[in-house]
């Protein structure tokens, strides 16, 4: 794209802008959730919407996730396009049936005769000592269960384009945004997530990974925070004379296995990074997808994921447990050549 004028936005603002654009052109689009009205969302991604569209279309809800997500399913099947917010993804346990057994499956149960065009947006991730019930990613928990698309941007450009694509999609989409990339200063901010965002509407297609850095020696695959760790690790590896390719999955469902496989075919080495828990997660899925395709590897693939422990509050423990560029570099340096 040709940039007329740099217009750097945070992911939070990019999301709010995308929602506003769609709300202006499609009166079926509305937003529901806790504190998404006057407050503008705890993570800023609905800021300004209440003022522009009013309390009817930007609805604060009771703390009743089962009810309002269930209601979104009903409204979506009746012609509306709800965007609902689950404030922290960690809270999915109080309302997951409405998500995985209704939102995700009703279209199938109806043989395609009912559509559920809704977006469930939800915050993920830790790093700021919010402890074990407010810092999780649970990417795989959502991506494992069929019938919903699951996407997660790593920068504001993708956030806007993927939010617009999600709203326009005829299927339910879970839109995960990572708190530390949100551009809210009080959560710490990953500056690289704040990028130029065109004013107009555009879509970033769901289900397409992006090679965000090209390289020849190793493929680093990540999503949200993992992408930024990967990019930083790639810069460190460059200083070691190693050329790392970084793939931003962007979407967990549909999963763009081809892009990952093509990359590993080229580099022969694979490191998968995830802030979600280690076992039964995204890292295992990516590694399995590559090896079952019979890609020839120069070294055993490695993963840098959150250990299988509840997320500890105290800073020394939490920071130690999180994925990091250092851990990726070290994973590369200790790879078992085969």
């Amino acid at each position: 794209m040709s940039q007329v004028k740099e217009r750097k936005l945070t992911i939070a603002r990019a999301m709010a802008e995308a929602i506003a654009i769609e709300m202006r052109t499609d009166d079926k689009v509305f937003v529901m959730g806790e504190d998404i009205g006057e407050l503008g969302g705890v993570f800023g991604n609905t800021r300004g919407l209440y003022k522009e569209f009013g309390a009817e279309r930007v609805r604060d809800t009771p703390i009743s996730e089962t009810a309002f997500i269930g209601a979104a399913v009903g409204a979506a099947s009746d012609g509306m396009k709800p965007i609902v917010e689950l404030m922290f993804v960690d809270f999915f346990g109080v309302c997951f049936d409405a998500i995985y057994n209704m939102m995700a499956k009703n279209t199938y149960f109806a043989g395609g005769n009912v559509t559920v065009p809704m977006v469930l947006m939800t915050s993920t991730g830790g790093g700021y000592s919010d402890a074990g019930q407010h810092s999780q990613c649970v990417h795989a928990t959502f991506a494992h269960l069929p019938g919903m698309k699951v996407v997660a941007p790593s920068n504001a450009y993708d956030a806007k384009g993927m939010m617009i694509a999600s709203i326009r999609d005829n299927n339910p989409v879970v839109f995960m945004f990572h708190k530390a990339l949100q551009g809210m200063g009080w959560l710490g901010t990953e500056k690289d997530a704040i990028v130029h965002v065109p004013e107009e509407a555009y879509e970033v297609p769901l289900g397409k990974a992006a090679v965000v850095r090209e390289g020849t020696d190793v493929t680093i695959v990540g999503i949200t925070s993992g992408v930024h760790h990967g990019l930083k690790a790639a810069r460190e590896l460059e200083a070691q004379g190693v050329s790392a390719e970084v793939v931003d999955l962007r979407s967990l469902v549909p999963l763009d296995r081809d892009t990952v496989i093509e990359s590993v075919k080229k580099t022969g080495r694979l490191i998968v990074v995830d802030e979600d828990y280690h076992s039964y997660g995204m890292t295992g899925e990516i590694i399995a997808s590559v090896v079952e395709a019979g890609v020839a590897l120069k070294a055993a693939p490695a993963r840098v994921a959150y250990p299988d422990i509840p997320i500890p509050f105290t800073r020394p423990m939490e920071q130690w447990a999180l994925p990091s560029p250092e851990k990726i570099v070290s994973a590369f340096n200790t790879m078992k050549e085969i």
């Binding site: 009810a67 009903g74 012609g79 199938y108």
Partner: protein, 328 residues
């Protein structure tokens, strides 16, 4: 608000269709399942929850609804689907798992979706509620007519979704009516053993909405009470909670031994089977004769037979079609 003669006949007829449908399904369900009862076998595999006895809840409510109104139901949906006007052929075919079924066989008996008449259901207890509230909200926001009716069992009234959904409907004054079919059993657990109140309708005060309890499994009383609630919803007066005393004449699902049921309970319920009672009422009220009854029964049976025949005659979908309609 009394039903007209025409409405009463409509109700009776749909109670009959429902009852004949269930009786037919009951028989066919057992095909291939004896001598050894194995749910996986026969033309209708899987769980089967019959609604025999609960027909008044279906017709007394749906008599007030048109296709544009929304109904959400549960794991025991046939009677209400029929009263709501779900295409019976496509529904029967769905229950048989045929390609001509409502979803091409993907959903089955617990997942009846017919968008033409705005009917849907869920096999998860309590999950009829949120979607109905949301559909009601949708009508308000779109300024389109239509009310939503969410059915649930009395057992479901102890599920969190009940509380959340009713509160949401109450706060937002949504055009939705909640109908509890109180058959006094949640599988083997009695209402008394699971519910801290005598009448779930008393719980309406917790949501700032009117609550009504309807005794006697009586389609006419149901018609009257529900009619007012639906009218109030249509008029912007907000939601209502209604509990209807009804009876589960069969087991929870087919294959249920029902040893937990007190001796004599079922026999007593058979004696107040709402279908003969309705027939007697029609006779008394309108001089409805045995010949009239035979005619309406024949009509109902023909509808059921046609649907079942359609289901039997239809083809199974190709196995690989399983991969379709996940995303659209």
């Amino acid at each position: 608000m009394k039903p007209s003669q025409e409405q009463e006949l409509w109700m009776y007829k749909h109670m009959l269709i429902s009852r004949f449908f269930e009786e037919t399904i009951e028989k066919i369900y057992m095909e291939g399942k004896s001598p050894a009862f194995n749910m996986a076998n026969g033309p209708i595999p899987g769980e089967m929850h019959l609604s025999n006895g609960q027909e008044p809840c279906a017709v007394g409510v749906c008599a007030h609804l048109t296709a544009e109104d929304i109904v959400t139901h549960t794991h025991r949906p046939h009677h209400v689907a029929i009263a709501k006007g779900v295409d019976l052929k496509a529904m029967a075919a769905e229950i048989f798992g045929k390609k001509t079924g409502l979803s091409g066989g993907r959903g089955g008996h617990m997942h009846i979706f017919d968008p033409k008449v705005n009917f849907s259901c869920s096999g998860i207890i309590g999950q009829s509620i949120g979607p109905a509230a949301g559909a009601a909200l949708s009508r308000v926001m779109q300024k389109k007519p239509g009310v939503a009716v969410a059915y649930l069992g009395e057992g479901a009234a102890n599920q969190g979704a009940f509380h959340e959904g009713l509160n949401l409907a109450g706060v937002w004054k949504l055009p939705v009516v909640f109908i509890i079919e109180d058959n006094s059993w949640g599988i083997s657990v009695s209402k008394r053993a699971s519910t801290a109140v005598e009448r779930n309708s008393d719980r309406a005060v917790a949501y700032g909405m009117p609550g009504e309890f309807i005794e006697g499994n009586d389609p006419i009383k149901i018609f009257e009470v529900v009619g007012k609630a639906i009218q109030r919803a249509r008029d912007g007066g907000g939601p209502t909670l209604i509990e209807i005393e009804t009876s589960r004449l069969a087991g929870h699902f087919m294959g249920d031994g029902e040893a937990y049921r007190p001796a004599g309970e079922k026999e007593a319920l058979q004696k107040i089977d709402p279908i003969p009672l309705m027939q007697q009422r029609l006779a008394k009220e309108y001089g409805f004769s045995d010949a009239d009854d035979a005619a309406i029964k024949a009509e109902a049976r023909a509808i059921v037979d046609e649907a079942i025949q359609f289901a039997r005659d239809s083809e199974y979908p190709a196995p690989e079609e399983a991969m379709e309609k996940v995303f659209v």
